[in-house]
Structure formats: structure tokens, C-alpha cells
């Protein structure tokens, strides 16, 4: 069944923060995840486990949604790492605005981002 929220793009406040459960000390992988506040997710028609497109500064990544009441009530937390770094600019290094919408398909892989670096 087609979901209405699929076509709903909402603005979110994003905080970039360390997350011990996502960090990888072996530097081998990065988890494409965004922690959304449950109330924000409910208002936006996003469910736990959804893949969402997050757009900021003209760049887009697809991340998997996890719900967390530790996220800002008006958005979410993206853990420090390649996905947050891809979206952010220095002006909003730890906090920025993004638009979010439910998307089809798999989350963005780190390799897709690295592939844009060395051409």
C-alpha cells in the first residue's frame, strides 16, 4: 500500500553527536543511521526502520531510522561520521537543518560517498 508520508518532505533540526553504539574503532564501516525523536517521527509519518532521504547543503543521503527520545524534539541525531560529514558544512558542523522524506531502497553506503572523493 502506498504511504502518504512517502510524499511528505519535512524540515528537521539535526544534531551531530558521538554515539558509542555506532562508533567503529576498527575504522572499517559506518552505520547509515539517523535517530529521530519519536514525536517528530510520528508527526512526520516516519516509522522505526524506515529508510529516509536526508537532504542538507545540496547533498542527499539515505539513512535508516531508529527512534530515540534522546534526539531533539524537532528532529534527530546523526552520529559523528561520514554521513553527517557528507551533509554538513563548517557553519553548521554540529547542528544544521535538513529536509527528510521517506524513501525506497537501501541506505547509502560509505563507498558511494568515498567514490565521489577521488575521481
Amino acid at each position: 500500500m502506498m504511504r502518504f508520508s512517502k510524499f511528505l518532505k519535512v524540515e528537521a533540526d539535526i544534531v551531530v553527536a558521538r554515539h558509542a553504539l555506532v562508533m567503529d574503532e576498527t575504522k572499517s564501516k559506518a552505520e547509515p543511521v539517523i535517530f529521530l525523536h519519536p514525536e517528530f517521527a510520528k508527526r512526520s509519518g516516519v516509522n522505526d526502520g524506515d529508510v529516509v532521504e536526508v537532504e542538507a547543503n545540496g547533498r542527499v543521503v539515505k539513512l535508516k531510522v531508529k527512534l530515540s527520545d534522546k534526539a531533539p524534539e524537532s528532529g534527530g541525531v546523526i552520529p559523528n561520521g561520514i554521513y553527517a560529514s557528507y551533509l554538513t558544512s563548517f557553519d553548521g558542523f554540529k547542528r544544521f537543518k535538513a529536509s527528510i522524506e521517506v524513501a525506497e531502497g537501501e541506505p547509502t553506503s560509505a563507498e558511494e560517498i568515498i567514490g565521489q572523493l577521488k575521481v
Binding site: V15, A20, L21, D24, E25, K27, P72, S85, F93, R95
Partner: protein
């Protein structure tokens, strides 16, 4: 075997390893010791595997040919290696910087210059009453900070620990895991603009009305009850304030009514070590140009890259592709990059030269400096010859 964990600036000194099992470490520390053999870097030149000596020779060649080379990173290596890296930067007449230029370097510099009173985490454990965590969530970033040094321990003058002998204050833009702890004997202040809270502390200390007067009034009264209070400032504080001088003035003002110390909270295992090592050498903690003989925003590695001012970078023990904004890291593809790292990091994957190194604190020993300035000596679990000191010495000799 008892080890010191190099995972973050807590440098926990009670990690017990027996029969391959790691005890007392946080999740991050556990990974460092339990997974130290995973995803190891391999010596490479232009994507082809080579021996380490060939990779070092190529690195020397690149640095010799470069017109504007920079050295960057160094926050996860030991002081002994940091000193050699500074020698290399000087020999190249180039730039040197670490992560602190966009992290807490400015606050560390203020501490080193005596602009804010500071103390040690051991003193905090024994004496501190009001603990302010401002713009930092140690639950995730410094996972044992609260349990080993600050909130939970029962100190000499604080025998009842968090039950009655601590007053916890958390300042954040969200109700983080640390903020959730602020219930009994505590205050959580959710801020939108950190400058307004700084202003409130200053005004209330002067007996004036202010936006956060109710909460701040309670906190200042609690501070007055004790002879030892401390503020831990993290990246949220750094990026929440446009001008950190406001914060320094606030700490000064608070000290007119109660003793309040400051300790930076955050960053890599030996970031403060780099700051102190460079400070001892040139009087600045980061973003230094040997060519210009001074430090400046324009010499921050991120600015040099963004403005295309460098043509080669020696990156030691850090992963800018992972951690820097894309508008900056995307410029790495346009210059020659040499990565010295124990792991096959994201940056190593795009580097022209990769030189595999030992993990500091696990496979090689040396000195690191805790976030509070206490120097600790790390002993390796097992010794590996090709470490950062070896590699940087070889590069220095080759130039």
C-alpha cells in the same frame, strides 16, 4: 595485565586484560583491545601493495616535491611521535595542525595560558560538588568520565558520591542520556542559544535579572556552598558560542562568587598532548605555519584544504574523510595524500601512499596527556617495530 586505554582523553588506567578478555573498558575501549588486529592498513603506493620502506620512500619523495605541504592529525599518537612530526613540519617549512583547530583547541589554549582556572580529574573525584557538563554528552563521548572521575565516585571530601555530595548540571540542545541523569540534586538546562545562558550566569552573578535566572540562581547558590566546582566544556559549547571570550569572562565572573574550575571535555586520546607539545615549541596549540612563523585561522588544515593552499598532506592517525565536512574532504582528491595509520581508514582508501603503523597504547608505548593535562606513560600489549616514531623518523631523515 593492566593497560591504559588510548581510546579517548579519559586514558583510563585500569583496563585489565586476561586470556584475551577485556575488563573495565567501555564499549569503545573494549573494541580497541579486542579488535586491534582487524582492518589493518597495508603499505600501498598508488593503490598497489608495496613494502613499508618503499611506501616511506615515496612519502619522502612527495613531501620533497611539494611546494606547500601540511602535516595533519597526530591526536591518537604519542607525544614522542608528535615531537618528530613537528620537526618534519619545520624541516619542510610547512604547516602543521590537528583536529583541535575545529574541536576544543581554543579552550585548551586558554587553559594553558592561564586564562581559566583548571584542575585535574583526580581532584574533581575527591573534591568537586557542582559538576557542569556543557555541550557534551559523556555517556557516548567519554563513557567512563562520570563513573571513574566525576559524578558517581565517592571522593575524599565527597564520601556520599552522587547520592548527596554532587550537584549535576547538564546544558544541551536536547535531552541527552547525560541530561536524563539530572534529576535529584541537579538541573538540566535546554538551550537554543548558549550565549543567552552565558549572559544569564554573568548577570545573576552580578545580582541582575536574566533569561535563565531561576535555574542559574539555584546553580550559583549551590556553587557558593562548596569550595570546589567544575565546568566540563564540549563541542556543543564551542559551536554554540560564536565568541568563546564570553565564556572565559563568565568563568572569571563566577570565580568572584565561588571557586569554579574548567576542564575541556571531549576529543581524541592525545589531542591535549599535541596541543601542549606544539605550545611548548612555538607558543601555539595548533594551525601553525613554519613558513610564516605564526598560527592563524588561515593555517587550519581545513582552511588550507578548502582554499586549495596545499599540494600535499601527511595525515597521521586521523580520518578526515570520515570526520570533516564533504566541502573540505572532497579537496583531498586534488592533492597528494600520505596516510600513516594502523587501520585501513576511509582516508587510507583514497590516499596516494599508505604506511601501516602500530596502534599507540596497544602495539607501542609512549606518553599521552589526559584531557586535564595529566601525563601518562602507556606500555604496549605487544611491541611492533614499525610505529609512528619509526615512520616519522625515517621521513625526517629522508628529507
Amino acid at each position: 595485565m593492566i593497560m591504559i586505554c588510548p581510546g579517548c582523553s579519559c586514558l583510563c588506567d585500569d583496563i585489565y586484560i586476561k586470556e584475551g578478555k577485556v575488563f573495565n573498558a567501555c564499549r569503545r575501549g573494549n573494541e580497541i583491545f579486542a579488535k586491534y588486529k582487524e582492518n589493518r592498513a597495508v603499505a600501498r603506493v598508488d593503490g598497489k601493495e608495496v613494502d613499508v620502506d618503499t611506501a616511506i620512500e615515496k612519502a619522502v619523495e612527495i613531501l620533497k616535491d611539494a611546494k606547500n605541504p601540511a602535516i595533519y592529525g597526530l591526536d591518537t599518537t604519542v607525544v614522542e611521535a608528535q615531537r618528530i612530526a613537528i620537526d618534519v613540519a619545520e624541516k619542510l617549512n610547512g604547516y602543521i595542525d590537528d583536529n583541535s583547530s575545529f574541536c576544543l583547541g581554543e579552550l585548551v589554549e586558554a587553559v594553558l595560558k592561564g586564562e581559566m582556572p583548571t584542575t585535574t580529574l583526580d581532584e574533581v573525584r575527591d573534591n568537586a560538588y557542582v559538576l557542569v557538563y556543557w555541550g557534551t554528552n559523556p555517556y557516548h563521548s567519554l563513557s567512563r568520565h562520570l563513573s571513574k572521575y566525576t559524578y558517581y565516585p565517592r571522593g575524599k571530601k565527597r564520601p556520599r558520591g552522587y547520592d548527596e555530595d554532587r550537584f549535576l548540571v547538564v546544558v544541551d540542545v536536547r535531552r541527552s542520556e547525560t541530561a536524563v541523569l539530572a534529576k535529584k540534586n541537579a538541573r538540566f538546562i535546554m538551550v537554543d542559544d548558549d550565549a543567552e545562558l552565558v549572559d544569564s550566569f554573568v548577570k545573576v552573578a552580578e545580582g541582575k535579572a536574566a533569561k535563565y535566572a531561576k535555574d542559574v540562581g539555584v546553580i550559583i547558590n549551590e556553587m557558593k556552598r562548596a569550595d570546589f566546582n567544575v565546568i566540563f566544556g564540549g563541542l556543543g559549547l564551542k559551536y554554540g558560542l560564536k565568541d568563546l571570550n564570553q565564556f572565559k569572562e563568565m568563568v572569571k565572573k563566577l570565580n568572584e562568587v565561588a571557586p569554579v574550575y574548567f576542564i575541556p571535555a571531549g576529543f581524541h586520546g592525545n589531542m591535549r598532548g599535541f596541543n601542549e607539545t606544539l605550545f611548548e615549541r612555538v607558543g601555539h596549540v595548533n594551525k601553525y605555519s613554519f613558513r610564516d612563523g605564526k598560527s592563524g585561522e588561515e593555517f587550519a588544515f581545513t582552511e588550507l584544504l578548502k582554499n586549495e593552499k596545499i599540494d600535499a598532506a601527511l595525515i597521521v592517525g586521523t580520518d578526515p574523510v570520515y570526520s570533516l565536512p564533504f566541502e573540505v574532504s572532497s579537496k583531498l582528491g586534488k592533492i597528494k595524500t600520505i596516510v600513516v595509520d594502523p587501520r585501513m581508514s576511509f582516508t587510507a582508501k583514497i590516499a596516494d601512499v599508505v604506511i601501516p603503523s602500530a596502534i599507540s597504547g596497544v602495539e607501542t608505548g609512549g606518553t599521552m596527556v589526559r584531557s586535564d593535562g595529566v601525563r601518562v606513560k602507556l606500555e604496549p600489549l605487544e611491541e611492533k617495530e614499525v610505529n609512528d616514531v619509526y615512520i616519522l623518523n625515517k621521513i625526517k631523515e629522508g628529507l
